[in-house]
Symmetry: C2
């Protein structure tokens, strides 16, 4: 595609920034929280809203793809025969908004303040999803065609670990054939240096319930003489890590590829203010002593308790010996690890350490997805490098994400295709936390970059994407 | 008072059992939860209800006694000059009803099933409070007089540790002068053997909040690299006890009088099915190895976490590193201990073990009350022995309560008078738990015994109650 045609798209997007933001705001007002059944209606509304958008922009075959969970929204444009077919991935579900009282603006009423758009899902990942859709819409609107073939795939279960994604792919394998995936999820690692995501940690989830009695007991009548579910749960949780923050679970690190020299060098090359990274959130560095902070959160597995509760949590006091405690945990896994085996090592540890007189039940377990990786010479990586270098004048460095994007490994496993994460969010945007925001400037930067990327990818033959080396070993 | 006059009271109470139960049910329908500000109206209603009752039964000076917390309800009858003056103590507040979903009948709709009355407060302690009031009412109704002078004092903060009781007493010291206290709180230890409560553990409360960051963090972005508030709180809680259940806090046992031979013998003499005591509630014995189960829960201090929470506790998962965790704790203390010093030893322990990078704040601390004790030869004990032996044909044994009745130590400390706990609840009635109940038969037994007790106490001179030996040492 000639440069002036690309420029026309960029100019068109520039001229329509206000409409783009308006549409994004409408998308953000829909409370599509996949984790909580109370938001079923929000999930339904989000799908209807996207179906309407994909149809209006001129995609064909717009429909829901069901896998017995939250369906994905799908649409395609196949007008570039001989050119690569790119699956454009985003997700329409968002994290729960709790704790609500800590939001300074309503989570589902997007609010602009000083160039930032606040609201649940702004950064993760409705903002970047909108960028991808607007670029496709602009190509179709201005030129009536795209540089490549497009299959838009918008998932509804990213925030819950994509439990039915494999089923969706299995049921629609032919429809979803593509040469590669461009993901709107998986953002930028730095505001000052251009980065390319060449991989992400995988994750798996576990929720357990520990019981010590049939009912809560009066702490005067029983205190000092019976097991207390919160004491026992605390002992179990405390046993998961050593004092330095290293995971102390037997088998937890099994399979984890040690970081290569190149990965350690790339990780070190990412200039960022480590002190600010922690002090901005009031946190303090803590973890495996032999690794830098950034290595710990991108190249090493991790185990976190995400929620824990038991006993009386209301106002004032209640003098009970609680009979039950519950905990939610997630493991982050790295290249070489089997996420299911890792989370089961945690469960085995808990069971092994659970004393007589207590029962430990699994409330939920989700094998999740392995880590994903992309080789440095992959055409997706080279195309992204070309675009980012042209846009910024700097040579992009390769980084890995600490967060998980299960879709990348699931598409690799089920369809044999690689994913480039090309989201435009930034690390400080409070995703999964109160007061999540997205920079409005990122919409401008993102729509420019996606325009150039689609044109750049059109220069490769479809076969090149499949001939790329496997990035999962030694990169 | 002649025996036939006592019998007339007993016959009168027998004839009015249905009305007694109806009045108790109306009392139970009032949700007087002192711990939770949402129940302010229930507290107010309970007071109005009791004021009306005390006036109707013919007490004088009926009024609320305020100490800047929940006021106490007061009324008196002073028509027995030269006879002892007994303060009759009960409390109108109840524990919170959570977890609501575990109740089989509505907590504030008293429900009779198989001779048991189910509902929050039935056993603790509206049932026994009703017994005391009905006996006084019967004396006044049948004979126009009581065997002793009576000062009814119904507290509204027993379930929250009686924070304003000292203030109430200080403001109304002259009004509250009495020779001894008869408490409707502090129940029976056995359904088969008559027992007399000669003491109770004291207690103190602490609520702490631990923070590791300003906000919840994305577990992908930060997991493995920062402190997790739930991991740290779990380590703190786990450090409070040894694996065998012994409290591991330096200074926690300071001052605790070792159980005397007599106390150990009395404790051993209480025949009860220890296996059933635990298996009935699905619990398993756990605690200091050198003590029997019953010794642990009556003669030894104890430390329990009553509630703990942090992070995401809703449906599904949320991949965060929680920034905050909170815990409620209570200590039970025994004779010789300073409850405030004990709870501060716990706080010191938590602060000492709280690592750099975490902040530990005190949400609430309540010095509570010390343990209470009553000497074996005290006229209150002798009167209770006479009544119970006459009613059961068995020699009552002396027991101590594991639960705390702060009023006993506060009245001792502020007014210099001793308390006999003469409640009629039984240990299996699920106080502080769902499905609390009170046996209807206990109303019959309790009203008989209180009738005889008031008559028996009238045989003592007022001075005898003050000359009684101090029970706090070596008994």
């Amino acid at each position: 595609m000639p440069m002036d045609e690309q420029q026309q798209i960029i100019d068109h997007l520039e001229a329509h920034q206000a409409e783009i933001v308006d549409w994004l705001k409408a998308f953000l007002r829909i409370p599509s929280v996949s984790a909580d059944p109370a938001f079923t209606q929000g999930m339904h509304e989000a799908r209807s809203f996207l179906v309407e958008r994909l149809r209006r922009m001129g995609l064909a075959g717009v429909r829901l793809l069901d896998g017995d969970g939250e369906p994905a929204v799908y649409g395609e444009w196949n007008g570039a025969p001989g050119r690569p077919t790119l699956m454009v991935y985003g997700h329409y579900d968002v994290q729960p908004a709790d704790p609500l009282e800590q939001w300074r603006t309503p989570p589902f009423e997007p609010t602009e303040i000083d160039g930032k758009l606040y609201g649940r899902g702004t950064s993760d990942v409705k903002g970047s999803t909108a960028i991808a859709l607007e670029v496709i819409a602009a190509f179709l609107s201005v030129h009536g065609r795209c540089p490549v073939n497009i299959k838009v795939f918008l998932e509804g279960e990213e925030e819950t670990g994509s439990p039915s994604l494999r089923t969706i792919v299995a049921r629609h394998r032919d429809l979803l054939q593509a040469d590669a995936v461009l993901s709107a999820d998986g953002g930028r690692a730095s505001a000052s240096v251009p980065t390319i995501n060449t991989g992400a940690r995988g994750n798996a989830q576990l929720e357990v319930r520990l019981r010590t009695a049939l009912k809560d007991l009066h702490s005067g009548r029983y205190g000092g003489g019976v097991r207390n579910a919160l004491h026992e749960m605390a002992r179990l949780v405390a046993s998961l890590h050593d004092a330095d923050g290293s995971v102390a679970v037997h088998g937890f690190h099994d399979g984890a590829s040690p970081p290569t020299d190149r990965q350690r060098a790339d990780t070190a090359a990412l200039t960022y203010d480590e002190a600010a990274f922690f002090s901005d959130v009031g946190g303090s560095p803590h973890g495996e002593p032999d690794y830098t902070a950034r290595e710990r959160i991108t190249l090493r597995p991790a185990l976190d308790v995400n929620g824990l509760w038991g006993g009386y949590t209301g106002g004032g006091g209640k003098t009970i010996v609680p009979c039950e405690a519950q905990a939610k945990l997630t493991a982050r896994v790295v290249a070489g690890q089997d996420a299911g085996a890792v989370i089961r090592s945690v469960l085995s540890h808990l069971r092994r350490h659970c004393p007589t007189g207590c029962t430990l039940d699994v409330v939920a377990i989700n094998d999740g997805s392995p880590a994903s990786t992309l080789a440095p010479g992959h055409p997706l990586v080279r195309a992204a490098e070309a675009v980012l270098e042209r846009e910024t004048g700097m040579r992009p460095i390769h980084v890995r994400l600490g967060a998980s994007v299960p879709v990348t490994s699931i598409f690799k496993e089920t369809l044999g295709i690689d994913t480039l994460m090309f989201g435009f969010n930034l690390p400080d945007e409070d995703v999964h936390a109160p007061n999540e925001f997205f920079r409005l400037q990122s919409i401008r930067e993102g729509t420019r970059a996606w325009t150039l990327l689609l044109a750049e990818l059109a220069r490769h033959s479809p076969a090149e994407f499949h001939a790329a080396p496997d990035g999962s070993v030694g990169t």
